[in-house]
């Protein structure tokens, strides 16, 4: 047997729960089994960004709290010398990265098993987040191409604005797997007010 279980696979049955209103203004879904890589390196080093950009096709964001998309990979700013690469499971990326950056001072850590992504969307997702998140998530400040690390319901999370979801604007919440169950239950509780739909984990 080679069955894989995502951190939130417990929530597999398609459930629809209804909140206080008859409307379903929010949906939640796990984006399971994505590849998460933590990449650190010195952007001041002349070759570091160049190798990533030209040989590998990864353009790292240098502005704090922004995301850049190249090919299938989202690169999120985590710190002045630290990024999170999110994309489809691949053996190719780490191998190309290691080959390209060989001899340079860098660190590449595979975090795929250690964290997961909860996607929240629907017209009321900002209100749901607003019940605990202290950041200003208004579209005026939190728009396409933005991300932010913060503490949400006692969990350290990375929030990534998702512009390209086929169901409209959404938000990806990257969270450690041990906090994922707690955070999803917390989000379900918070979303009860606006009414929500819980989808099967998307793999």
């Amino acid at each position: 047997m080679n069955t894989r279980f995502s951190p939130l696979s417990e929530f597999t049955t398609p459930q629809q729960r209804f909140g206080a209103s008859d409307r379903l203004d929010c949906w939640l879904e796990e984006q399971a089994f994505l590849a998460h890589f933590n990449l650190r390196g010195d952007p001041q080093h002349s070759d570091f960004l160049e190798v990533l950009d030209e040989q590998i096709g990864l353009r790292l964001p240098l502005v704090a709290n922004t995301v850049s998309v190249s090919q299938q990979w989202r690169s999120c700013w985590l710190g002045p010398d630290e990024w999170l690469l999110l994309g489809p499971k691949s053996k190719e990326l780490p191998e190309t990265l290691m080959a390209g950056l060989n001899g340079m001072h860098y660190s590449l850590v595979d975090l795929s098993g250690g964290q997961t992504v909860i996607r929240i969307g629907g017209p009321a997702w900002r209100d749901v987040l607003g019940s605990a998140c202290t950041l200003d998530l208004h579209p005026r400040t939190f728009e396409a191409g933005r991300c932010a690390q913060t503490v949400l319901a006692h969990s350290n999370v990375l929030l990534i604005h998702v512009d390209a979801d086929e169901r409209g604007e959404a938000l990806d919440i990257v969270v450690r797997r041990s906090f994922a169950d707690h955070l999803l239950r917390w989000l379900i509780d918070a979303a009860m007010e606006v009414g929500f739909e819980l989808h099967r984990p998307r793999t």
């Binding site: 710190g79 932010a148 690390q149 913060t150």
Partner: protein, 93 residues
């Protein structure tokens, strides 16, 4: 609650930060030459300033970077934020 301007992430709630105590304490270059009293002074004794106080903070709920701030210990007003390793800004007369 304090609002602290992380030099990288911008203004965030104090909840996201951890305070690392007084800034600019230099570790003695040759600890083996110190007396116990001098070593204890380095380890434990702090200025206990009333007024402008330079402190280290870490944005542990965000970018996880250390930086320094100058905070008034009476009014809690933060007068400046600067990078770790930089010297404290001169006080305005």
């Amino acid at each position: 609650m304090l609002q602290i301007d992380c030099p990288w992430c911008g203004s965030r709630d104090q909840d996201e930060f951890q305070c690392g105590g007084e800034a600019h304490i230099v570790r003695p270059a040759t600890p083996e030459d110190l007396s116990d009293a001098q070593w204890a002074d380095y380890l434990f004794n702090r200025a206990n300033t009333k007024g402008a106080h330079a402190e280290q903070w870490c944005h542990s709920g965000g970018c996880r970077r250390w930086f320094n701030i100058v905070r008034d210990t009476v009014s809690y007003k933060i007068s400046s934020v600067y990078q770790a390793g930089a010297s404290p800004p001169q006080e305005k007369p």
